[in-house]
């Protein structure tokens, strides 16, 4: 399994700064990146403003008003853009409010996993020996357990809630970043400037942050952006199976689970959240893909079939 990472021929020398400098010049010329960026920006803005732009913010958050029982499972109309759900709430409000919980889940999971992963990877590469062995064991261990199963155990232990989703996803995702960081960091450790820094008496902490961490950051960050879509899909799978957020929350997986029981009568309840899930995940992977192609010249090479 380790070959997946060690196979990559990317050199860890492209800097974070270069990534941003090229943003306007190169990236914005690419349709793929433009689409991804637009989706991502819309998602981020919606996550911030959703309670103020939806017509029924209370219903979106999960409240069932008394008059709702008369309008259960209504098809999409001008009053309810996406129709109503099984308990008569406005589906449009619920789905748009779901953007926020999607963004919360993605950002917390990715940032926590990145933090732990970077730390573990750099530590393992710097301190060889016991630390390296233990950290590699933990990485390989948690890479081989899917988050959904961990969510089941944590759900039984902790009960439903955001905590369960995030804890179970972080438990598996950090190991990916630790592994990538470790592979890159080990090659950085071989560089002469690290040896020089060490010989000149720079403290381990400074070597790790100033020389190692800084040089491995770009590829790991790009990987993290690409992974955001996968994290969202995995989080929604956990919620869809009823292992995560409580059944009332405005979350796409949860809403789809609710719609599943009335699939034949009210297919729109499952349809809209799934569509939003797809588009959001797509947006993140488009952005991540373009970033990755740009820092890896091998992927960008001109190519033409010559026979």
């Amino acid at each position: 399994m380790s070959a997946v990472i060690s196979d990559s021929r990317k050199s860890p020398n492209s800097s974070v700064k270069g990534l941003y400098q090229n943003l306007t010049r190169r990236y914005l010329r690419r349709t793929k990146f433009k689409i991804g960026l637009v989706i991502t920006l819309v998602v981020l803005v919606l996550a911030l403003v959703s309670p103020w732009v939806v017509p029924y913010p209370d219903e979106g958050a999960g409240y069932v008003p008394p008059e709702a029982s008369q309008r259960e499972k209504e098809p999409p109309s001008l009053r309810f853009f996406f129709g109503t759900d099984t308990r008569g709430r406005d589906l449009f409000s619920r789905v748009i409010m779901g953007v926020r919980s999607a963004v919360i889940q993605i950002t917390t999971v990715i940032s926590l996993s990145l933090l732990i992963g970077l730390l573990a990877g750099v530590l393992a590469a710097y301190f060889k020996g016991v630390v390296e062995i233990i950290l590699n064991y933990l990485v390989e261990l948690f890479i081989s357990i899917p988050a959904v199963i961990i969510a089941l155990v944590l759900r039984l232990a902790l009960g439903p809630g955001l905590m369960t989703v995030i804890a179970s996803l972080v438990t598996t995702w950090w190991s990916w970043y630790a592994r990538i960081t470790y592979v890159y960091a080990r090659s950085v450790m071989e560089m002469d400037y690290v040896t020089l820094a060490r010989l000149s008496g720079l403290s381990p902490l400074k070597i790790m942050t100033r020389h190692v961490m800084r040089n491995v950051l770009t590829p790991v960050l790009v990987q993290a952006v690409t992974d955001m879509g996968s994290v969202l899909l995995e989080a929604s799978t956990i919620n869809f199976l009823g292992l995560g957020l409580p059944l009332n929350s405005p979350e796409w997986g949860v809403i789809m689970l609710e719609g599943l029981s009335v699939l034949e009568i009210a297919p729109w309840i499952s349809a809209y959240p799934g569509f939003f899930l797809l588009v959001t995940a797509l947006g993140f992977s488009l952005v991540g893909d373009t970033l990755r192609e740009e820092i890896d010249p091998r992927l960008r090479r001109r190519w033409r079939l010559w026979f």
């Binding site: 399994m1 933990l138 199963i149 902790l158 869809f240 789809m256 599943l260 899930l277 893909d289 026979f307």
Partner: protein, 342 residues
């Protein structure tokens, strides 16, 4: 044989280490989470015999002993295959899981039988039309497919079948099964039906397995379309391809024999990885959407009954499954790629 005893020993030791890690992890989760671990282990029992069950759970977990001893005892229990009866099913946990695992595996294999040829074919076509319209279309399609929630597609397929008047629920129609005297032997229903020569049941099983299999195949197809294109693009630039063209070897032989052979190791590696991911997709789709028995149904039952033993069993079996798929991928790779030695 490129396979060494050293490698096999390492893998086996590794599987043991992972099981220990998994057990320690789940044990810690039970113990340090708020609430009484014995109550949770007993599945939040109610009724007159509740205190008995909790006492038993307390003894099973070894809560009266120091933590380190508890964990060791627990690990020993797992290795002797004795983590008790499943609360939901009242039979030994591993027995329940292994039976369902076969069902899920059957589904996964069928969906990869669809995904691999289709994904690789479309990927090669895409590479041959690189930067053309077909390529753009196929690559966009691949990106969309790789980001599509499996359970969403599953729901659509299910709805379509229902509207068409079909009944896609379950693994086999019980009426047809009893009428024709179908007896599962291995648990792989398709194979069982074929062995028994029971064609009616075979067709019935196939018709029920095909739509969840398509839903699960969506993700690997998307991944393979993109991956194959990248691999083929690289392979076609190699010198031996150039040499073959100079020799006048026909285009189809170059592409479908030489290039395909060159990209197989890369494909195998990613297919192995995707196969492990698809296990989760299968669990999400098979029971919740299509009502098929399998690991997905165990997941839901374990949740509904508060069945911790089943959850621990599941986490162990799935981790071992991941490792076995991984090992198998390595072995296949070593067999086809002379550069790889294990």
């Amino acid at each position: 044989m490129p396979l060494s005893l050293n490698y096999l020993t390492k893998r086996i030791v590794w599987i043991f280490l992972v099981i220990i890690g998994v057990v320690v992890f789940s044990y810690t989760a039970i113990i340090i989470s708020p609430g009484d671990p014995a109550v949770k282990w007993a599945g939040n029992p109610r009724g007159p015999n509740a205190s008995l069950a909790i006492e038993l759970a307390r003894k099973e977990l070894g809560l009266d002993k120091p933590p380190l001893i508890q964990v060791l005892k627990f690990v020993a229990d797992v290795f002797t295959g004795n983590i008790g009866l499943s609360i939901a099913y009242k039979i030994p946990v591993f027995e329940v899981i292994l039976r369902r695992l076969v069902a899920t595996l059957e589904l996964l294999l069928i969906s990869y039988l669809i995904a691999i040829p289709l994904g690789v074919f479309l990927g090669i076509e895409s590479a041959l039309h690189r930067n053309g319209k077909l390529d753009t279309f196929l690559q966009s399609l691949g990106t969309v497919l790789a980001n599509t929630p499996t359970f969403w597609v599953g729901a659509w397929l299910f709805l379509t079948l229902i509207l068409l008047g079909a009944y896609p629920y379950g693994r086999v129609d019980p009426k047809i099964a009893t009428a024709t005297g179908f007896h599962p032997i291995t648990g792989f229903y398709l194979i069982d039906a074929l062995v028994e020569g029971n064609l009616i049941v075979f067709v019935n099983i196939l018709s029920k397995i095909i739509s969840p299999a398509i839903a699960i195949a969506i993700y690997p197809i998307g991944v393979l379309v993109r991956l194959t294109r990248a691999l083929v693009s690289d392979a076609l630039l190699e010198d031996y391809i150039r040499a073959s063209v100079a020799w006048g070897v026909s285009r189809s032989v170059i592409i479908w024999r030489y290039a395909l052979k060159a990209i197989t190791p890369g494909l195998v590696q990613v297919i192995g990885l995707a196969f492990s991911y698809s296990l989760v997709d299968a669990m999400a789709v098979e029971y919740v959407v299509f009502g098929r028995e399998g690991l997905g149904s165990l997941l839901i039952d374990s949740l509904n009954y508060g069945d911790f033993r089943l959850a621990v069993g599941l986490i162990i079996i799935v981790a071992v499954f991941y490792l076995l798929v991984n090992t198998l991928t390595d072995i296949i790779q070593a067999l086809i790629d002379p550069k790889v030695r294990l």
